[in-house]
């Protein structure tokens, strides 16, 4: 089995499994005041501190959630409502046109149901939001933007966004900056305070932790309207009993991923560059997508002219190679990638794409496996895409 879909989810790190296993048998609700509760709370708080330290935030800025999607929803809805209730003029949301659906669909929903004035910022051919683009969007009306949401690195094509500059421009105009950094932590240097972002989404299972846990990193002085009401956990911003074992696994994974980041990033960069070079050298239909250098180290993204992405996926799956096309709807029908369309690719190209994403368990053998099967797979998918034989 060749698993090259770490962008979808990562295998759990041994450190995370050990941390969770150690905690799972232990009783106690972290909100209880008795001894069991105190022990549980201690585990939660220690891991909050570890996570905060690993990403350059203060412990109180870490709000645990059920994952990336919840954090994105909380940030966009909560920040918009808080901003808009303070100043009714602030009703515009700016987001890049290549956001993950967790941001994209939330923003669209805010437009359709909450009267937000939604504006998606165009990207260049590599999928980057140029700082000037954001500035121009602000200059149209400098005082009406409730928040800006631009991802740290794109989950499909891997391009890294100029977060520091974008956050600085946002602050020039007195607005709030959120970034979905789900793909970035553990792969790129992510320092919350230095980035200038006001809110940051992170997730456990994209960096070797368990599925079902994430966090919104939120500056202490930023107001946010909660979307889950109840027991008032997490600064009253996110109610719900804290999942102690998940938090322990999350903490261990973040610490491990961030501590080993440089050596792993170097290793993954070598694997990725080797894969890209060899695919481009052997498959004439291959078009490389995204910024060649300034990208997620383990992400290699291609379009294969004349092929359908789902045919490529199926044929590779049959050879034991697991990767992804990018986006799929709930029933599994591949849609043309909105990211590639935003980067100016035509619909056919946007349908015929594949993402290989390397991670901790990847080896040079994985690259060899891809090269062993991919040329024939592309050849076959191309024939199926434009059937020559009609019967």
């Amino acid at each position: 089995m060749t698993y090259l879909d770490h962008g979808a989810t990562t295998p759990m790190l041994p450190e995370a499994i050990a941390a969770m296993s150690a905690v799972m048998a232990q009783p106690g609700n972290p909100s209880s005041v008795h001894s069991s509760g105190r022990q549980a709370r201690r585990i939660v708080e220690e891991n909050r501190e570890l996570i905060a330290a690993a990403i350059g935030a203060r412990p109180i800025e870490v709000i645990f959630t059920a994952g990336g999607t919840e954090s994105d929803n909380l940030a966009i809805k909560g920040l918009y409502w808080a901003q808009n209730s303070k100043d009714k003029n602030r009703n515009r949301i700016l987001a890049s046109s290549i956001e993950h659906h967790a941001v994209l669909d939330t923003v669209i929903w805010m437009g359709e149901h909450e009267g937000a004035n939604v504006e998606f910022l165009p990207v260049d051919k590599d999928g980057r939001v140029q700082p000037e683009t954001l500035r121009k969007a602000f200059e149209k009306n400098p005082n009406d933007v409730a928040l800006v949401s631009i991802m740290w690195a794109n989950n499909e094509v891997g391009t890294v966004e100029p977060i520091k500059e974008l956050a600085a421009i946002t602050h020039e105009f007195g607005s709030i900056f959120h970034s979905d950094a789900v793909q970035a932590v553990g792969c790129l240097p992510v320092h919350f305070q230095e980035s200038g972002a006001d809110a940051l989404t992170i997730s456990g299972h994209k960096l070797g932790g368990p599925i079902g846990i994430g966090a919104l990193i939120l500056k202490r002085d930023i107001e946010l309207t909660p979307i889950l009401h109840g027991g008032g956990q997490e600064r009253d911003v996110r109610s719900g009993t804290l999942p102690v074992a998940l938090i322990a696994g999350f903490g261990a994974a973040v610490v491990t991923a961030v501590t080993q980041r440089v050596s792993r990033a170097n290793r993954l960069t070598t694997l990725r560059k080797d894969l890209v070079k060899r695919i481009l050298a052997t498959i004439s239909e291959a078009v490389f997508n995204g910024d060649p250098e300034n990208r997620l180290p383990g992400n290699a993204h291609f379009s294969f002219t004349g092929c359908e992405g789902d045919a490529l996926l199926m044929l590779l799956d049959a050879q034991g190679i697991e990767c992804s096309t990018g986006s799929a709807c709930s029933a599994g029908i591949p849609q043309p990638s909105h990211v590639l369309l935003a980067m100016g690719r035509d619909e056919a190209t946007a349908r015929g794409s594949l993402r290989f994403s390397f991670g901790t368990t990847s080896t040079p053998d994985d690259v060899d496996s891809v090269l062993q099967f991919l040329p024939a797979v592309v050849e076959r998918a191309k024939r199926a895409g434009k059937p020559a034989v009609k019967i």
Partner: protein
């Protein structure tokens, strides 16, 4: 080498058992659910297919331990089946969308794609049998006469038949349900589908009315020429229909009247006594032979609806044109319908009806 097969899995009990049997018989099976229509899901904006059926199919595939994919053929289906259905009706014809889907989608677009992707065959849960002979594969009626679907498969030529597997042709429907139950398939108790899949509420007239709008015209007594009513569109009527005519003027003898003919040129519906529905001679085009091309003139039995009787007929064909002279009397047939020809249990071929007449 092990045969690689795409099992088309609709999410119903038949295709579930068909796929199970293939796995058991040692084929290398991949389950494929065809997303035929873009239907709005509960989520609103992004709903893109029949999620429940896709889920059921996926759960059966999980159970069988086979890969499973959803293929989006909704564009082809929209163009080749739905739009064709509407335009045929707008021309006064009576198309069969299931026949059309088999001819243009399942055993065309899907089969072609499967072969191009390196598969050897497509399998479905249809009730009919393919028998190998020295003259190539031949199509036969199913063992279960109640469920037989050879009529809707009568558009498969031998090239297609040679890449098709029908694992249920030798079985009776109740046994298939029992088998699904015994295999623990979640689709075992799912009701059969009867309606046209893109008109789930069964209101074909309403569907066509939405697409084609009001096209009001007259209802005329075929014998007297007297105008006896009005209609909102020819597409709301089928030749042979009795109910729902809303005729203002009853016949003096109170005998019920039927739709005899739809005249597209004058946009009128002709109604009259059932004796006028008799059809003696039918011409057809779009001939497809499910076996070797027959002699220019042959005796056969002809079937004009999915589950109607087969009637003795004399058949002539020449240069892609078919003439069928019925020996046993045929009641009610409209242009656009498929006429399937049988030699005993074997399907000889089919055509699309162009004209009908009484001698």
């Amino acid at each position: 080498m092990t045969k690689r097969v795409v099992a088309a899995m609709s999410g119903g009990v038949d295709s579930s058992v068909a796929a199970s049997r293939l796995v058991e018989q040692g084929y290398d099976v991949v389950g494929v659910h065809l997303a035929l229509a873009k239907v709005k899901g509960h989520g609103g904006r992004k709903g893109c297919c029949t999620l429940d059926d896709a889920r059921d199919a996926r759960r059966v595939a999980d159970r069988l331990g086979i890969p499973f994919y959803v293929w989006d053929v909704s564009e082809e289906f929209q163009k080749e089946v739905i739009e064709n259905f509407v335009s045929e009706y707008s021309e006064g014809k009576t198309p069969n969308p299931c026949v059309r889907c088999n001819e243009k989608i399942k055993f065309a677009a899907v089969l072609t794609r499967s072969l191009a992707l390196g598969f050897d065959a497509v399998a479905t849960g249809h009730y009919a049998q393919i028998v190998e002979s020295e003259n190539g594969p031949l199509l036969y009626r199913a063992v279960d006469e109640n469920k037989d679907q050879s009529y809707v498969l009568s558009v498969l030529n031998q090239e297609k038949l040679s890449h098709t597997i029908l694992p249920l042709g030798d079985s009776k429907k109740p046994d298939i349900r029992a088998e699904a139950e015994a295999r623990g398939l979640i689709t075992a108790a799912k009701p059969d589908s009867h309606d046209i899949c893109f008109i789930p509420d069964g209101d074909t007239a309403g569907f066509l009315h939405k697409k084609l709008g009001d096209v009001p015209g007259k209802i005329i007594d075929a014998q007297t020429g007297e105008e006896i009513g009005e209609h909102d569109g020819l597409f709301e009527f089928t030749v042979g229909q009795r109910k729902g005519l809303h005729l203002g003027v009853p016949r003096q003898d109170r005998a019920p009247r039927y739709v005899i003919e739809k005249d597209i040129k004058t946009n009128t519906v002709m109604v009259g006594l059932p004796t006028l529905l008799r059809v003696d001679v039918v011409t057809a085009t779009n001939l497809i032979w499910c076996g070797p091309t027959p002699a220019a003139e042959f005796d056969c039995k002809a079937q004009v609806r999915a589950h109607s009787a087969r009637l003795a007929a004399k058949t002539f064909h020449n240069d892609g044109n078919l003439t069928v002279e019925f020996i046993e009397p045929l009641q009610a047939l409209a242009p656009g319908q498929t006429i399937a020809l049988y030699d005993g249990e074997r399907v000889i071929g089919s055509g699309t009806v162009v004209t009908t007449s009484r001698s």
